[in-house]
């Protein structure tokens, strides 16, 4: 194979995607490893290598003397074509062994539009794509990641899903696998299904009502859970964190050291799935993070360290941490990145500390254009917060900001779109006065997709036609705003995301047929073929509108109800109901418990590491 690769690699784009050998990559002895797993990321190398979860699992599993974890990514179509022509199967970067030689192939599902890539990778590996067609000799095909919180569309392709945080679950899973060696596949899977957080879809029978909605999902074997509860690291401060991550040769999407300051977010935005699935908030202590930063920078040589979380400005020691990093490493040319800023002046103050070393882009996400709609979605930001933030930004010398909005939110009218335009005009006015002609406001407008496990899971989704009409309106009206550039997400992408996000098992034949028709890299504009998806939905007689546009009843059983996030469905219903009254729900880290059910049902607590006098200012 190496000889064939030598001939192929000079002829593909970015050959370094396929060679391995990066600094800090780990090549373990094949023969002495008792369980061999390959981490499979269904997107291109630069995207996959940017993913924090993969870095954590790579270090974690390889630290164990008996286990081995290698990597594989979706080859870009030019490489895939050459591999297929030369008969090279999908291989792992470390040992360059075929993926089918491993015991477990673990897919990381981060995005619904990577489903066809999963099938394509299995096919390229020579592993049957349907779970039931795999033999005793085939590897176990596993999947984890946030998309597994509605695993059903992929259920017939995946032998076993791991739900929730992987730090504790994955080692338990591999240990159980090792103990069960020699057992028949079916028995092995039954054994694995006994672990908390493990979902084996073949052991669940599904019944439907005549109207197509779900009637019930029942375990087919005694002793299996009615619902699979997500796993959770209760003490993040003590949890494993990789201090020797791989340093890629290529420029990857997020090419920097990453400190995970906390996991979870309790702002309770009603559109947000991450808010549910990663709840509750667990923080790392300042001293742990300082120690980790030191080791990470020493071991990687990066010139940038990112403070990652769902809402970094909410981390209770953020100010001290930022100050420490800038003081400690700034003089060596190492900068700090803040990926998500809260919409307030406090965040700009933080960004100001950071820009002493390296200038960054400021990004704010008001999400909706009017206070009314922001109340509906529980985005607890008001207009003066935004104006204070941008004023502070322009005063501090930034000549541009980036703003995120969403359209298609429940109850949205054209007044809310006018609200977006008015906000932009106001931001522009403030910017013009300070930055003059250099002013650059980049606005990214995405389209709302109702997600499983959120208060909006009962809501119908906006159609591509409506999206196009609203884009047209914003584009036309927005033209008057010089220095403001609007960027819109593709309506058809939203359409397919929406089908999958709340889909069920009946979508599997559609995904399969799309794959056989050549669909891959659906999340990449140059490869996305909505026309083929339309066609295969028709061929399989699956009505996409059923998943997209129905107003679901509170009594309806959802396919994703099989997964227990710890959050009560009643709480979500209540949140849904009060969203219509435009009533906001407070943040449980500052106010009282909102009774979502996560902490008591999972036996955890909200974990804050705040020191005195450094509580986050500017509560919004």
């Amino acid at each position: 194979m190496n000889e064939q690769l030598r001939q192929i690699l000079p002829r593909v784009q970015k050959p370094a995607r396929y060679t391995g050998g990066e600094y800090n990559s780990i090549v373990k002895d094949w023969e002495s490893a008792l369980v061999k797993m390959v981490f499979a990321f269904p997107d291109v190398y630069e995207v996959g290598m940017s993913h924090l979860g993969g870095r954590i699992l790579y270090g974690l599993v390889n630290e164990h003397p008996d286990y081995l974890l290698e990597r594989t990514f979706a080859p870009w179509p030019d490489m895939e074509e050459m591999m297929r022509a030369a008969g090279i199967p999908l291989y792992a970067l470390e040992s360059r062994r075929p993926v089918r030689d491993f015991d477990v192939v673990g897919f990381s599902l981060q995005y619904e539009l990577s489903f066809t890539n999963v099938l394509n990778m299995l096919d390229l590996a020579g592993i049957p794509v349907w779970s039931e067609q795999r033999s005793e000799q085939d590897p176990l095909v596993m999947a984890g990641g946030p998309v597994c919180f509605n695993p059903e569309p992929m259920a017939p392709f995946i032998d076993v899903f791991l739900i929730g945080d992987g730090e504790e679950l994955l080692p338990e899973f591999l240990a159980r696998l090792q103990e069960s060696r020699g057992k028949k596949r079916e028995e092995l899977l039954l054994n694995l299904a006994g672990l908390e957080g493990v979902y084996v879809p073949r052991f669940y029978q599904i019944e439907y009502h005549a109207d197509g909605t779900l009637k019930a999902m029942e375990p087919s074997h005694p002793g299996l859970p009615e619902r699979v509860t997500k796993r959770l690291v209760s003490d993040l401060d003590q949890a494993y964190y990789p201090l020797n991550p791989i340093v890629p040769f290529l420029d990857i999407v997020h090419d920097r050291a990453v400190l995970e300051v906390m996991r979870g977010c309790q702002r309770a935005c009603r559109f947000c799935q991450a808010g549910t699935v990663y709840r509750p908030v667990r923080e790392r202590s300042l001293s742990t993070l300082q120690h980790q930063a030191e080791a990470l920078l020493r071991n990687t040589g990066y010139d940038d360290i990112s403070l990652a979380s769902l809402s970094t400005a909410d981390y209770s020691n953020i100010q001290r941490l930022v100050r420490h990093l800038v003081e400690q490493y700034g003089s060596r040319g190492v900068g700090v990145s803040l990926p998500s800023l809260r919409v307030d002046a406090f965040s700009v103050k933080l960004a100001n500390e950071v820009q002493k070393v390296r200038k960054t882009t400021l990004t704010f996400a008001p999400e909706a254009g009017t206070q009314r709609l922001r109340n509906v979605i529980n985005k607890n930001v008001n207009e003066s917060d935004l104006m204070n933030a941008v004023e502070a930004a322009f005063d501090s010398g930034w000549s541009g900001v980036k703003l995120y909005f969403m359209i298609g939110l429940p109850t949205e009218t054209y007044e809310d779109l006018d609200g977006i335009l008015e906000l932009l005009a106001k931001v522009r006015r403030i910017g013009r006065a300070r930055a003059g002609k250099r002013l650059k406001i980049n606005v990214s407008i995405s389209n709302f997709v109702p997600k499983a496990h959120t208060p909006f899971q009962w809501e119908p989704q906006i159609s591509p036609d409506e999206i196009r009409a609203k884009h047209g309106y914003l584009r036309k009206e927005g033209r008057r705003l010089k220095g403001v550039s609007l960027d819109f997400h593709q309506p058809e992408v939203t359409w397919l995301e929406g089908i999958m996000a709340r889909g069920d098992r009946r979508l599997a034949p559609v995904i399969y047929r799309a794959f056989t028709r050549g669909c891959k890299f659906d999340g990449w504009r140059e490869y996305f073929r909505p026309d083929i998806w339309q066609e295969v939905l028709e061929k399989e007689r699956v009505d996409p509108d059923f998943y997209l546009y129905r107003k679901r009843s509170y009594r309806e059983v959802f396919p994703w109800d099989i997964i227990d996030t710890g959050m009560d469905k009643e709480y979500l219903m209540e949140e849904h109901l009060i969203s219509r009254q435009e009533v906001s729900t407070p943040d449980c880290r500052y106010d009282t418990c909102v009774g979502c059910g996560v902490c008591p049902s999972l036996g955890v607590e909200l974990e804050l590491k705040g020191g005195d006098g450094d509580a986050p200012a500017g509560r919004v």
Binding site: K14, A16, G21, E22, V247, F249, Y302, D303
Partner: protein, 233 residues
């Protein structure tokens, strides 16, 4: 102080572009915690400059970079620390302090030595004839592989050309012009050999070294030493 470093970009790294090599070196320097100097401004960078570009797909035995340090460091210490922080395939061969008055690598280097590995030792006679044919004639016109597609005569930029057998492999060694005024690219060289009848496949190309040509002699960019060409690796 200013340090000039000679390194090997090994087979493992041959697919990395100039920019990626630059990033690689920067990260080695940071991991080794060396006293590198930084540029001023919004986006501080290590004061580092790499020598001539090595095309993607080609590895190199003697490549160079210049580095500015804020304090004195023995070459030996530099080499030890940097090597300990280097990825596979990146080998530091030598390092020497050079005065700031010495021109940049890009300004000094005007010659490259490429080795083209021919698949089969059986090609000896044919390779000999091809080389002969090129050396005997005044012109070697190929289509330029550069940005502008045009006819290009490589011959004035070919200083030496000979075949040899090294570790049982047949290699064509070419000493050619390199730099902004005149430049012979290795892929053009392959085209040139083929146009004169080479039928064997070139299975590997590496750059043996970068040199400063002065009259008929060649000097090393590292220490101005006279270089005897092609005495093995």
């Amino acid at each position: 102080m200013r340090l000039r470093v000679e390194y090997e970009k090994g087979q493992e790294l041959k697919y990395l572009s100039h920019l990626q090599m630059m990033r690689l070196v920067e990260r080695v320097l940071r991991r080794a915690d060396l006293p590198y100097a930084l540029s001023e401004g919004f986006n501080p960078r290590i004061k580092l400059s790499l020598g001539t570009v090595l095309p993607v797909g080609i590895w190199g035995l003697r490549e160079y970079f210049d580095l500015e340090l804020t304090s004195h460091l023995e070459s030996r210490h530099f080499m030890e620390r940097a090597q300990a922080a280097a990825p596979m395939g990146f080998r530091i061969r030598r390092a020497m302090s050079v005065p700031f008055e010495v021109p940049s690598l890009q300004a000094q280097i005007n010659t490259a030595v490429y080795c083209l590995v021919v698949g089969d030792e059986a090609g000896r006679a044919e390779v000999g004839e091809v080389i002969q044919s090129i050396l005997e004639q005044r012109e070697l016109v190929v289509r330029s592989r550069g940005k502008k597609p045009r006819e290009k005569d490589l011959r004035p930029g070919i200083y030496q050309l000979h075949g040899s057998v090294l570790d049982g492999r047949l290699e064509v060694t070419a000493v050619v012009a390199s730099g902004s005024s005149q430049n012979v690219r290795p892929d053009e060289l392959v085209d040139g050999l083929k146009s004169r009848g080479l039928s064997y496949e070139i299975i590997d190309i590496y750059r043996w070294g970068n040199l400063i040509k002065q009259g008929d002699g060649y000097r090393s960019p590292l220490n101005d030493e006279k270089v005897e060409l092609c005495s093995g690796r």
